[in-house]
Amino acid sequence: MGDILVLMEGIEKSFPGVHALSDCRFELRSGEIHALVGENGAGKSTLMKVLAGVYAKDAGRIVYKGQAVDIPNPRAAQHLGISMIHQELNLMPHLTVAQNIFIGREPRRRLRFLLDEDEINDRTQQLLDMLHLRLDPRAKVADLTVAKQQMVEIAKALSFNAEVLIMDEPTAALTESEIDELFRIIRQLREKGVGVVHISHRLEELKQISDRVTVMRDGRYIDTLRTQDVSIDRIISMMVGRTIYETAPEAPDNADREVVLEVKNLNRGNVIRDVSFTLKKGEILGFAGLMGAGRTEVARAIFGADPIDSGEVYVRGRRVHIHSPLDAVRHGIGYLSEDRKRYGLTLGMDVENNIALAAFNKFVGALGWVNRASVRQTARRLVDALSIRTPSLQQQVKNLSGGNQQKVVIGKWLTADTDILIFDEPTRGIDVGAKSEIYHLLNDLVRQGKSIIMISSELPEILRMSHRIIVMCEGRITGELSSAEATQEKIMTYATQRGGIMNAGASSHSPADPAQSRSA
């Protein structure tokens, strides 16, 4: 580790209604990989966006290479040598790889306003060669897989000759071999004296790559420690402010149970290819895979939200034709979207109306009047049953925490009497504490005879909750595992059975990475 490169002190940032950062501190040395961890909403991304010029700070100071600096916009940050790869991919899908990398600083011809496309492509090729990435500079970004798009982002950030590289959850969509490749590049940068900030939820990964770790909680700085001196359990307890005990999965014997849902040869374009599976009564069927593997697409197709090209769906042995979500609800299928704020809730309405939303006809009396007493009674029962923490039934849903919002969505589908529930990323954006409540709730639901399909990108969650696991990759089912035989390695092997391999010259990766197997 070298000299102090960046020092942030007393950083304050408020958004309307939220005090996002209070008195935050961060220190980055040259030639170190610095992990930044915390629960969702702890302020990690916000703090780094202040450093990258995306947000203006309300108070505090930033010292860069010994001098106090002002970073009003992303361009200023880039000039200083600070690059950030954002959590959401930030590419222009209609442009080529090279055009994306050089956006905003295109090499020009002698006439200043003319672009030098050859130069752009040549320099991109050199950059990609340096990083051992086998990508065509002329390929359109929309045609690349998510992992390759991620690599384009990294190449772009590095092309600024960055001295500070901030990566916000860079590995979320990558396969193991791609992560290895990324880490190789990051270590290479460390050798060159670059300071790397790595924001991630994968603590095992941080343990493996980082030199120091800074923990944040509720918009506050907690501590900075040398990674080798601290255990993962200790990091977690610093993140949540208490110790969380992970419980082992319960895996009841379900071999001879009734099949409630059977899907045969489902196809849609090249997103869903020949998908067949069964769901049994009282079972949690996990759907694992990488981002873009087609799991959400399968769920939406079954739910009638997207049209299918071919395929058959049987509910309790009877062939059904589901052309719309309304049909699906009639057959007792409920879908809880990964984006509950957009698709699951009407945020401006109160708790009781959200709970009644999918089954309003139950509460409608003569002449179309809504029986409000009955709505309230049902809502009260579910708020108690699901222990939704809300000051009142009339509270607007947008003011509830992520975990409680998710419970309201569950309550909504319970009201609609659906006994096949498809959960898409049920704990996304929910903090660790609320997560375990959701897990308990899912277990309760299957004990009551409901059947659950759970799509999740978090392997520990899949392993902990599922009775059976289906793994998808590029629209196909590539494997099925019982909970007894499933491990992170096996799932990842199935999840990466795809066509192209993107690392040129890189060593062939070993699926059994020691750090990964220890955590499994």
Binding site: V54, N73, P74, R75, Q78, H86, E88, L89, N90, L91, M92, P93, H94, L95, Q99, I103, G104, R105, E106, R108, F113, L114, L115, E117, K140, A142, D143, L144, T145, V146, Q149, K156, A173, G269, N270, V271, M291, G292, G294, T296, E297, G475
Partner: protein
């Protein structure tokens, strides 16, 4: 989200521009064949020249609109800005007695100024493009009437002015082939537009902003400034359209121009430019403009009433976009 973009658009996007252009071009050829077979009066030199001339103004307006639409914006004011520019050209040349070249430049710059105002209102004041340019539509319509005193301005003392669009340089070189200059102005403007779109920074940022505005901003591009430039460029094309219009009619008609913006947008859309932004070509727009002119001309020759021509044009616009949606869905 991004994952789904990558998946559903996937490989199909790769040749999408080319395929759409091919479809539009095939449509244009088909129209030509149908009308030629239906009427002996269609495929004559005079009629073809008529079609070319009729496309000149709409084509130039559509070129400007192409930039805005690729950048995921919309400009409803191109028709009335065109009128405003024609009136201003009249003011410069007839009232002020400026030399014709200066009058032309003045007219184009007047259009560019309107576009710049659009761009600034959109990028600085964050007014949605639909509203900002709707406001400009009304404002320029009113200003044209106010400035001209609700009377046409005739270029009677400067007969050369009419030759800008209606003279034929080609006709003097090759007697008998009297294709008016307006047609060559259109093709010249198309080449310039094509170069700007594919070879310059401005064109690149049109695509980038239309494809993912936030990512472009985070890449350190001055998105607000470039947006204003895109609308200003669109205004300049509308200004050029105004000059051609004035020259063709040998007068600035202050009451003309409403409805032209819809023809321009229709041409852009038929030519395969996505209203969601991020894709589009100049060649597509030119083909789209010709489809609209050929359709109007052919239907008129077949004595289809003008009212029905509008119905057909409307159907074609919807069909063109629907065909594109079908193709994407595969």
């Amino acid at each position: 989200m991004e994952a789904r973009v990558a998946q559903t658009q996937g490989r199909s996007l790769f040749r999408s521009d080319a395929v759409q252009k091919l479809m539009a071009f095939a449509g244009l050829i088909a129209l030509f064949i149908v009308f030629s077979l239906s009427s002996p009066n269609f495929l004559t030199l005079n009629n073809i020249i008529g079609i070319l001339l009729a496309t000149a103004v709409n084509g130039v307006l559509a070129l400007g609109a192409t930039f805005v639409i690729i950048a995921a914006g919309i400009d409803l004011s191109v028709g009335t800005v065109m009128t405003f520019s024609a009136v201003m050209t009249g003011v410069f040349v007839v009232y002020w007695g400026l030399p014709i070249p200066l009058g032309i430049v003045g007219g184009i710059l007047a259009g560019g100024l309107c576009g710049l105002v659009n761009g600034l209102v959109i990028s600085r004041m964050k007014v949605p493009p639909f509203i900002a340019t709707l406001g400009m539509l009304y404002a320029t319509r009113g200003l044209s009437l106010v400035i001209s005193g609700v009377k046409p301005i005739y270029f009677n003392d400067t007969p050369e002015f009419r030759d800008i669009a209606m003279g034929s340089v080609l006709g003097t070189l090759i007697p008998g082939l009297d294709i008016p200059n307006a047609v060559f102005i259109l093709f010249g403007a198309a080449i310039v537009a094509g170069l700007i779109l594919t070879r310059t920074v401005l064109g690149r940022y049109c695509f980038a902003i239309g494809s993912n505005e936030e990512a472009t901003r985070l890449s350190g591009v001055n998105v607000d400034g470039w947006k204003a430039a895109v609308y200003a460029l669109c205004g300049m094309f509308a200004g050029l359209g105004g000059v051609i219009m004035a020259s063709r009619l040998n007068s600035a008609q202050p009451a003309l121009g409403a409805g032209y913006e819809l023809d321009a947008i229709a041409a852009v859309v038929i030519g395969g430019t996505s209203l969601r932004g991020g894709e589009g070509t100049v060649l597509g727009t030119i083909i789209g403009a010709f489809i609209i002119s050929v359709l109007a001309n052919g239907l008129r020759i077949l004595s289809v009433p003008q009212e029905w021509q509008m119905v057909v044009t409307g159907a074609i616009v919807v069909l063109a976009v629907y065909a594109d949606i079908i193709r994407r869905r595969q």
